[in-house]
Assembly symmetry: C2
Homo-oligomer: 351 residues x 2
């Protein structure tokens, strides 16, 4: 019944592994020993693309996922679509959010779709259970199923739809990489990240939109420019300023009321720092006034290591004040407690 | 307002990192590129402690957490406590489970506590939200709070309490490492893992019980012996056989009805394979009839890499039949689909 063959020889690691030389950035201690650890890379760049500092392989490409929703929202603003369809500041914030599907998120997206003459059925992001545990539990209790409105990307998709309508493109193909709107999105990403077309990889995101792969350095550059757009052409400068102001005014719309580090950072810094998470633990941060962008990728894709590292790097480079850092202290997980409240360990950042 | 100091020099990795040389074991692809990867170690041993094969640093110690609940339950059976308090086969399975707090779990633990003349208040594991999403949602909908009964370790703690009562030790200190029951637990762990006392580290687990740190090789040895106890003294042999039979008869009690790989493996193999997960992605497997134990630790502590690796190793070593492996195929995540059902990537095991 059971095959009894000899174990094969251990295969060698392939010639081109994903992140072969990235260092350990975060250790998780239990008592007096390390239990787990997280490797990755991070890089600080200025708006010209110059690298200021970094660790690990920041020149290697990573999938930037939802971290670049601000770049993906640029054509919505620059084309005039946002103005034509009367996007409010809150709706701009939602267009670049990864939200928790709280009522403040889903009701605003539903209202926006209605104003566009569209409905949930036009969203192609797929139904996703709400990120907020309370909202998710209420949905289950009501026997209701999640819809595409609850998808954390529904605000971005409503923005994409507005762009397609404005361009006279068929809404049904708004996610097609060759559609008029997605071609503008790709151009915006390329120019903000200072990349040649051949340097930009593409795959399909969790929400079915095209997602991009670029050197981590380029992600840091793009964030430095979103938050410090002074050297950009006037229309882009205005679009960046509008997005950064929208997030500063509506930090909860960027992510959620509870347990979301993007909202916590935007709130603690009154929007001076422009943060955005992406799937599989990629992160971008733009720091207004200091001409700096920071990009992070944790190799294993888990947020546990990411959260502590973000706060440590904000401290190390003086991107956040002591008062702001103290508001973010819980994300550092310097004391890990168990279900009974006993301290069992701590998180240590090696950066 | 913002401190503008120069970045410090990048600190070197400390001299004794946790797992410096562990290889990449699992890659997660998006489209045609690797998005994330998981490093770790695994090892196959026989009941005598001989290593058959392995990858990574299997001689280094790791926290074994809940993977060794079977070892921790040995004194309950061997001392006569289980017999004295009339433990059923289902209650034995619960004593070594990490359960999802479904009614079949919590009602059985509540009944057991009542028979012991104890109550939820005697459990020191802390209140934990149920692992099962449906149970968790119902609890929220009812406005009820989770209790220690919902803690995934409540069955183990009920077993510890029975042991303390049987030994005439005060129930209130049943988690004290120097209590009569925990000293027996430590002895059982040492002898099953073939370790000297100095080789066994101790810290506090998520449920406040003492948790152990040992070479991954020793964990594989202990699992080889639980599932193949022929060479052990008669009382221990009988205790191991009783535990393995209890899990074979009640695979759902070991973990849960949905989305739990321990239950899936025990079910698919009719209990011939004895599996157990522990916190931060540590895993033990004992294979009856083949004199083999397998132990795995994923460095980053995430289960995504772990699940795919387990199935790949069961296949590689012929521990599971083709029919059994086909029942476990979903855990390999060879096709990763997004919320809209599109295939966006795949998981690749390098083992």
């Amino acid at each position: 019944m059971v095959r009894s063959r000899q174990p094969e020889l251990q295969p060698k690691e392939a010639a081109d592994p994903a992140f072969p030389e990235n260092p350990v950035l975060v250790r998780v201690w239990r008592g007096s020993a390390v239990e787990s650890q997280h490797r990755g890379a991070w890089v600080v760049a200025d708006p010209s693309g110059e690298v200021i500092d970094g660790a690990g392989e920041w020149s290697r490409p990573v999938f930037v996922r939802s971290s670049v929703k601000s770049l993906q929202a640029l054509p919505l603003i620059e084309s005039g679509a946002a103005e034509r369809y009367g996007f409010s500041e809150a709706e701009i914030a939602l267009a670049l959010s990864s939200h928790n599907a709280e009522p403040c998120h889903t009701e605003a997206v539903a209202g926006l779709l209605k104003r566009l003459g569209l409905s949930i059925a036009d969203l192609r992001c797929g139904a996703q259970p709400p990120g907020d545990p309370g909202v998710r539990a209420r949905l289950v209790a009501e026997g209701a199923k999640p819809t595409a409105l609850h998808n954390n990307c529904s605000g971005k998709h409503a923005g994409f739809l507005a762009l397609a309508l404005h361009l006279g493109a068929p809404p049904a193909s708004y996610l097609d990489p060759q559609s008029a709107g997605q071609l503008l999105v790709r151009d915006a990403v390329l120019s903000m990240a200072q990349l040649e077309p051949a340097e930009l990889g593409v795959a399909v995101d969790g929400c079915s939109a095209p997602t991009f792969r670029m050197p981590l350095r380029a992600l840091a550059t793009a964030f430095a420019r979103v938050a410090n757009p002074g050297s950009l052409p006037p229309a882009r400068r205005a679009a960046c300023a509008r997005m950064v102001a929208a997030v500063a005014a509506h930090p909860v719309l960027l992510a959620g009321s509870h347990d979301r580090i993007c909202t916590a950072i935007a709130r603690a810094t009154n929007g001076r720092i422009f943060p955005k998470i992406g799937g599989d633990a990629v992160y971008g941060i733009g720091v207004q006034g200091l001409d700096r962008g920071l990009a992070i990728k944790i190799d294993d894709g888990s947020n546990r290591g990411l959260h502590a590292l973000i706060v440590a790097l904000l401290r190390r480079f003086g991107f956040a004040t002591d008062a702001e850092l103290s508001e973010l202290a819980a994300w550092e997980q310097r004391s890990l407690r168990n279900w009974a409240g006993l301290e069992v360990g701590r998180t240590e950042v090696l950066a």
